[in-house]
């Protein structure tokens, strides 16, 4: 058995062990560290496949940026201990295992019986060496054939960062942004059983800046739009 096969099996076993540990671990921080192990093994697999640049990018982006970001978030959310993660929900776990095994069977069949192969290109290892290496060859392809996609990716990253800032922005102190600003009350507000002034759609001034709009007076009930349901409207008389 040649050396590279032995090395591949070692890397694959470590990657699968890291992924399994990530799923099994009880502490989310342990899960993140297991995933770091798995991602470094994936970077080694990229290097074995001749994609050195992607291997470095994998380590920098995934283990350097994404998982550090995740560890920060992990310390910002509530450190909640959920024992039912591991003792409860046997049906859910059984469904997960069964569906995973079915998909594994299908994918293994697909890999074993694969007949279609792609058209051969000219980027063999020797040609890539002639250009100067994997990074140079990838740069040439990226800035000629995939230039538009490259620019779109930069747009996606900008929008993603802006969206993350907007989503993670804390609500203002004391003001919950999801609280309804205006209250529409069809009934009398508390303690204001005042007869309406005559006239269609008479406008009634309430407290500070909010307005109460009185609807046709035959009913005797008013449609009051006010920023506070308990606010007592002051009848100011019709303006028509």
């Amino acid at each position: 058995m040649p050396w590279e096969v032995i090395i591949f099996y070692f890397i694959a076993a470590t990657a699968i062990a890291g992924a399994a540990g990530m799923v099994i671990a009880q502490n989310p921080v342990h899960s993140a560290v297991f995933l770091v192990i798995c991602f470094i093994q994936i970077a080694a697999v990229f290097v074995m496949l001749g994609a050195e640049f992607l291997g470095i990018i994998q380590i920098i982006v995934y283990t350097g940026a994404i998982l550090v970001l995740l560890l920060f978030v992990l310390m910002l959310v509530d450190p909640e201990d959920l024992p039912e993660f591991h003792v409860g929900r046997p049906v859910q776990r059984a469904v997960g295992v069964i569906l995973g095994l079915i998909l594994l069977l299908e994918v293994a069949t697909a890999i074993a019986t694969r007949t279609i192969t792609g058209r051969q290109g000219n980027a063999t290892l020797e040609n890539v060496e002639l250009v100067g290496g994997n990074t140079q060859a990838l740069g040439r392809v990226l800035y000629t054939d995939h230039l538009l996609a490259f620019e779109v990716v930069s747009l996606i990253l900008t929008v993603g960062v802006l969206g993350a800032i907007v989503l993670a922005l804390p609500e203002r102190l004391g003001v919950r942004s999801y609280k309804r600003k205006d209250t529409i009350s069809l009934a009398h507000p508390r303690g204001t059983d005042i007869a309406l002034p005559a006239g269609e759609g008479a406008q009634v001034q309430t407290g500070l800046s909010s307005t109460a709009v009185a609807k046709p007076s035959g009913v005797g009930r008013r449609l009051i739009m006010s920023s506070d349901p308990d606010e007592q409207p002051v009848t100011g008389g019709g303006r028509q």
Binding site: P2, V5, F8, A12, A15, I16, A19, M22, V23, P28, S31, A32, L35, V45, F46, L49, G50, A51, L54, Q58, V61, Y62, A65, I66, L69, V73, L76, V77, E80, L82, F85, R89, Q92, G96, V97, L99, G100, L103, L104, V107, A108, R114, T117, G118, R119, Q120, A123, T124, A137, L138, V141, H146, A149, I156, L157, G160, V161, I165, L167, Y178
Partner: protein, 101 residues
Amino acid sequence: MELTIEHFLGLSAALFIIGLMGVLMRRNVLIIFLCVELMVAAVSITFVAFARETNTLYGQTFALFAIAVAAAEAAVGLALILALSRRVRSVDIDEFRTLRD
């Protein structure tokens, strides 16, 4: 015994399915997020393996774009998790059942 593309495809499938099982089995929304990241990385192994097989570089550029989009997705996803946990005071995915309070 030669190292063929099927080895790498098998590793990719195994990692993808471990990530899928994690998504289906776990209830901590942070672990589910990690499993999704693992699935993205596993698929990029497939891209690079096919690029090696066909002697092209297009698979590698695809994997590069996948990594970039995964970074943007991680930022947005973690911000969503942060906002959700701030509102519901929990990381249990079963608690997230409404879009409003």
